[in-house]
């Protein structure tokens, strides 16, 4: 296989990072909703943690993007 082709395949494979990010973000919002419906009184106080968890989770998916970019442009 040509090295150039392997680069593109590798960059595409790096997009699998989105799988984990998607599961994680779904988990965070799903669990928040479940908790908020059981105890609506405590929901507002946890929205900061919700957004923090969302941002941390979303970033892991973007690490995959960085790997893909490194493969495409830096190798």
């Amino acid at each position: 296989m040509e090295a150039e082709a392997a680069k593109f395949i590798g960059a595409g494979l790096a997009c699998f990072a989105l799988l984990g990010a998607g599961v994680g973000i779904g988990n965070i919002f799903g669990n928040y909703l479940a908790g908020a419906l059981r105890n609506p009184g405590a929901a507002a106080s946890q929205s900061g943690n919700l957004l923090l968890g969302f941002a941390l989770c979303e970033a892991t998916g973007l690490f995959g993007l960085v790997v893909a970019l490194i493969m495409l442009f830096a190798l």
Partner: protein
Amino acid sequence: MRFEMLASGIDPMHQFKIETLVPLHVGTLDLSFTNSSLWMAIAVIGASLFLTLAMGGRRMVPSRMQSLAELSYEFIAGMVRSTIGTEGMQYFPFVFTLFIFVLFCNVLGMIPGSFTVTSHIIVTFALAMMVFIGVLLIGFARHGIGFLGLFVPAGVPVFLLPLIVVIEIISFLSRPISLSVRLFANMLAGHTMLKVFGGFVVMLFGAGGALSVVGIAPLLAITAVTALEFLIAFLQAYVFAVLTCIYLNDAIHLHGDHH
């Protein structure tokens, strides 16, 4: 897709290009004033002007601008108190400066045609290294050699220790990388996505006929994505500040037990 866009003059990566405005070379060092320096300067001047002018009146009943400044102060002060405790307030100026700088750089980057300083890894890495070295210095100054106890979590079985200590050290050393890559990748990905979607809409409208009617849907979508990007711009500044606080808390109270 990308090559088609290149042909039509829409390159999603062009917005990240560093351009020299005032060339300045000292020996082999390139100290030129670039568009990145320009927007950094605008962020610093904008933030200083905003906070100084907003607090200039010092009214009992705050004006809108003063409320904004007080709100951002209280927001970060509350975060520092809840993550580090009251003794963390001596590091509040540092955390607040970091937050405001990153926030202004992110939000100024949302102006069409401007430059996003935080979309370059070297800028965010410098900020993250500042935090990392600061944490090391504070940790060793406060606890001496005992700071190394950070790598030995309490309540771990002795036979697991060799493994856990290595993992803890690796995770500690990767902090500046994850902290900087998180901010940089978010800004890079967000702005690239906006440009790609925007180029897609322009191409659809340019195609004319039925395609330009279809183009209305992605136009609405990109409007929503732009709103999301404003949220991300704020959120990433917040996350940067929160993680700085968590790392500082490690340096001040080993194992984070300040309660």
